[in-house]
Symmetry: C2
Subunit: 233 residues, 2 copies
Amino acid sequence: MKAVILLSGGLDSATVLYQAQADGCDCYALSFDYQQRHRRELTAARTIAQCAGVIDHQVVSFDLRQWGGSALTDVEIDLPQSRSLAEMSQTIPVTYVPARNTIFLSFALAYGETIAAERVYLGVNSLDYSGYPDCRPDYIQAMQTVFQLGTKQGREGTAIAIVTPLITLKKTAIIELGDRLGVPWELTWSCYAGGDEACGTCDACQLRLTAFAELGRTDPIPYGLNRNPQASL
Amino acid sequence: MKAVILLSGGLDSATVLYQAQADGCDCYALSFDYQQRHRRELTAARTIAQCAGVIDHQVVSFDLRQWGGSALTDVEIDLPQSRSLAEMSQTIPVTYVPARNTIFLSFALAYGETIAAERVYLGVNSLDYSGYPDCRPDYIQAMQTVFQLGTKQGREGTAIAIVTPLITLKKTAIIELGDRLGVPWELTWSCYAGGDEACGTCDACQLRLTAFAELGRTDPIPYGLNRNPQASL
């Protein structure tokens, strides 16, 4: 069974890739160079895809700086720093990229239909969906309908299924799942800041540092001088 | 009222742009260079956008030849030639590009949310939707739900509305509408073949030649030596 795996290079998508392999899928990874501030994540995605032994890894390039609208695509918008998980969950953050998951899933649908895939795996999870509109279950269901009605494959046969194994999991549970699947955490990359080492203070760093700390573990990736070693629990 | 207009440079999208202006919208055109065989259409889109006096015209570039899967993105797949409208409507043709409208609408959603647009105009019509799955009303409705659930704007306020003024119109009715709106037909481009002059025999040429002929008119764009002057009625 062929599956397209949306692979950003972070904890979640790496776990999803290993889950897809555990599910018996032939995995085709798909990543995006959208001129994001943290294009460093693409190096992580390539290394993880290679390490997992995917059948193919496509990187689609386009430039969302054309219109900006997010701290991840407009360097003049500052990244939030050292926020607690409670603060993150209150509003949709400036790191929200308009329609990003819709764009990603659209390309996954195009790639998936072309290779006759049966599944698309996406690593959205319960932490993300508290803040991002395009990580919530009702949104995923709406995209599933698009997968059915918007393709030849969906109209004439069986639509590609969107699979979201992490959607109800917290970050600690994702790490525990990834441990069982053998995910190489040291190869993953989450930091939004765009440096060669993770900043330790952006929302993405806070989320993973906090989760590893809650499990009594040390995050194995290198952090720069600004790192807040306690994270904010 | 701001509106994003998906502008390919063909008859339909040009008519939709002029309709949006007649509807009182401030128009922001959006086109795609996906390395399509007929990239010549982008020149038409730029000229029409300029002629119509849009506020902005964005061209997003990516490469769908990465995985092909369509006669428009893989030159090794031959274009159908000299087919009648009846033949075109029987099956989904090889010029179908997997998930193309989903990709286009996703970028329109991203651009639209960033500029706080209220509408996205799309020139799908009844001729297209007989063949293409992603031109049919139920598909458009599914994308409308995605517009509502997949964005901050849709969750917190009013979703961008997808407007499809041509969806029930035949090509002859579209030309009559465009005549009333003052669409400069001589600037439009439909041919799939990729030459400097329209081929006159691909499905896209057949559709417009047939419609102009049915109206007792001459299509004002230049056709190459292969042109079938009668089209197939």
